[in-house]
């Protein structure tokens, strides 16, 4: 029998790239206009947290943690609808333009803050990567700061005798590992899809939204001062990297020979004829 597990899951709100809203004609994204959604990778992390809770003792609980502007609270409500027990958001203007190192610092301070109230983590789940930052760095950087056991690219796991037995993706295959708690696990997108909202979760969110007192208890909003994070280690000052230049690369080509406006036989015939040497070299005899 496993002990009660204290589980945290780190989730992020990202621009919604599935819709056309906020996508400029040149392909760049207008973050202000674009819709917002839960980072798709973090949905897998949320399912992993829910699965882990089911493996723990009866008083196991999950807290979702995010860092972002106030509207990101939406994904915390989404988490509660799926049966996550509590949530906390770190929101502070001074966090703008944080790179991964600054983000990992701020999130680890937030985790320290919630741990001081709710008890030390046994498990922290992260998505493999975000669709906007897309670095897969924040999880391991938090591990380094908090000295947690690290398992990345996890596809499935079990908790037995208070040890994690996990399967993870490696180059050209997979690896099974046994690891000690407390552990931070990043979840690959080959993990089970997030299940539907629960009826209880949805009702709970309705109640939380109505009642300010419970809201404070279940969806905590904190800033840098609350979690005792140093300003100099966040945002621009705390970020060792900057973006020094950007440029478009949509227009380099232009040498494409177009084949159009004819019958399919003719179109294919043109391409096959022009390239017949190459095609013959690799075609099956």
């Amino acid at each position: 029998m496993n002990k009660d597990l204290n589980i945290y899951v780190l989730i992020k709100q990202v621009p919604d790239t599935r819709s056309k809203a906020g996508v400029n004609a040149d392909g760049t994204i207008d973050r202000a206009k674009a819709g917002k959604m839960l980072n798709p990778f973090d949905a897998f992390a949320m399912q992993a947290a829910i699965d882990a809770k089911a493996m723990g003792g009866p008083n196991s609980k999950i807290t979702a943690v995010t860092m972002g502007p106030p509207p990101a609270i939406a994904i915390l409500y989404q988490a509660l609808e799926h049966g996550i027990d509590k949530a906390c958001i770190l929101s502070d203007r001074k966090l703008a333009a944080s790179d991964t190192l600054a983000t990992a610092y701020a999130l680890s301070m937030t985790l320290e803050y919630v741990q001081a109230k709710d008890g030390p983590a046994d498990l922290v789940f992260c998505g493999l990567q975000t669709t906007d930052g897309d670095t897969a760095q924040v999880g391991p950087e938090i591990c380094e700061r908090m000295d947690l056991t690290q398992i990345t690219y996890c596809e499935g796991f079990e908790i037995r005798d208070n040890l994690v037995h996990a399967r993870k993706v490696i180059e050209g295959g997979a690896m099974e590992v046994e690891a000690d708690l407390p552990a931070l696990i990043t979840i690959a997108n080959s993990y089970n899809r997030l299940e539907h909202k629960t009826f209880r979760g949805a009702k709970f969110v309705q109640e939380v939204k109505r009642n300010e007192a419970i809201q404070k208890q279940f969806v905590e909003i904190i800033d840098l001062a609350d979690c005792k994070a140093e300003d100099s280690r966040c945002g621009l000052p705390g970020s060792p990297t900057i973006v020094s230049a950007t440029w478009k690369i949509g227009t380099v080509g232009g040498s494409c020979k177009m084949h159009q406006g004819k019958s399919v036989e003719e179109l294919v015939g043109e391409v096959v004829n022009i390239n017949q040497e190459t095609i013959k070299e690799f075609a099956k005899a």
Partner: protein, 355 residues
């Protein structure tokens, strides 16, 4: 020991991975610009034979950590050995490069966080150049830096490329996906004159054994490795469903050493599995022939295949981005174009040689 360009090697079953050789090839150019030695850190067990390979690929210095616990990649032991060694240096390396593989992406952020330094993920271009930081929120960053690591990567805005740099602190770090840079020419040299070799002491602590490997399952055979194919038939969202891949497979069957691959959208929809994904977060390929079917040509896809020798794109939208960089563009419905292509390729084989 100032200003080294350090490549951390990746090995599988005691053989240095190609990505390491590719990074040494590119690292050599950076080392030239910095007038610094190119060094390579190899961790593993019974890996002495690999020292010659990294020297042949251009390493001027080799750090070798040989220990049974290092035979397979494990986060904590690898992290410990590399950090301990660098901490004995008077200054850390100027630049540190790793493969953007499952293990490189596991290890690089640990080292970056330890040194509290910057790390650019999934870089597609590297260079050394100057940077002047004029004003900003943080006055302590102001200054002129003649030798920064430039790491360019596609940014979230789909058609933008961003240069990321962080000259304030060394090591300046980047991860690079396999296949982005070409393999360097291998020139064997006798060890004595070629390179300095340092055997690195391996001292692990109790806490480094928190993750224990119980089983390794590596897929045998290279069928799944799309980076090795001569001909790639790639499909995207335009295929409409998983069924579309059967048609692609039929076209692939017309060629030798060919394979079917996909855009991320097709992978995310579950039409095909991740090892077949081409692009920034998939694999970088450079086959002799790349036929893109129903793929729009987003930047993140393009960076994974633009170096293919011959790119033929099939798309029903004449304004699709893929037509800006393919060599031949066929505007049409892939469900009509591909069957026609299959029959023409088959027919062209049957023609007598003199026809």
């Amino acid at each position: 020991m100032a200003k080294e360009v350090l490549v951390v090697a990746e090995q599988v079953d005691g053989i240095i991975a190609n990505v390491t050789l590719e990074l040494l090839g590119e690292g050599k150019k950076l080392a030239h610009k910095l007038d610094a030695p190119l060094s390579c850190f190899i961790l593993g067990h019974n890996i002495d034979s690999q020292v010659d390979r990294v020297i042949a690929a251009g390493a001027d210095k080799v750090y070798v950590a040989d220990h049974p616990e290092l035979a397979e990649y494990k986060t904590l032991p690898y992290r410990r050995v590399i950090i301990d060694e660098i901490n004995t240096w008077s200054t850390p390396p100027h630049t540190m490069l790793m493969g953007s593989t499952t293990s490189g992406r596991d290890l690089a952020p640990r080292i970056a966080a330890y040194f509290e330094t910057g790390l650019t993920a999934d870089t597609i271009e590297l260079d050394i150049g100057p940077y002047e930081h004029k004003a900003g929120v943080d006055k302590s960053k102001i200054g002129y830096f003649p030798e920064c690591l430039y790491a360019n990567r596609p940014s979230f805005g789909e058609s933008l490329k961003a240069r990321i740099l962080g000259p304030w602190k060394d090591p300046q770090m980047a991860t690079i996906r396999p296949g982005v840079f070409p393999l360097p020419e291998m020139v064997s040299k006798p060890r004595s004159e070629a390179a300095k070799i340092k055997n690195v002491e391996v001292k692990l602590e109790e806490s480094d054994h928190r993750v224990r490997i119980s089983k390794i399952l590596r897929e045998a055979g290279s069928k799944i490795d799309i980076t090795e194919a001569d001909v790639i038939i790639a499909g995207g969202f335009g295929l409409g469903s998983i069924e579309g891949f059967k048609l692609l497979q039929e076209l692939a069957n017309c060629f030798e050493n060919s394979v079917v691959a996909a855009s991320r959208k097709a992978v995310d929809l579950g039409w095909i599995t991740y090892p077949y994904q081409v692009g920034q977060t998939g694999k970088t390929v450079r086959p002799k022939i790349y036929i893109a079917c129903g793929i729009s040509g987003a930047l993140q896809h393009r960076v994974g295949m633009q170096k293919s020798d011959l790119i033929i794109a099939i798309n029903k939208d004449p304004d699709a981005a893929i037509f800006s960089f393919a060599h031949h563009g066929i505007v049409g419905d892939l469900f009509h174009v591909i069957p026609e292509m299959i029959s023409q390729i088959k027919a062209s084989k049957k023609e007598p040689a003199f026809a």
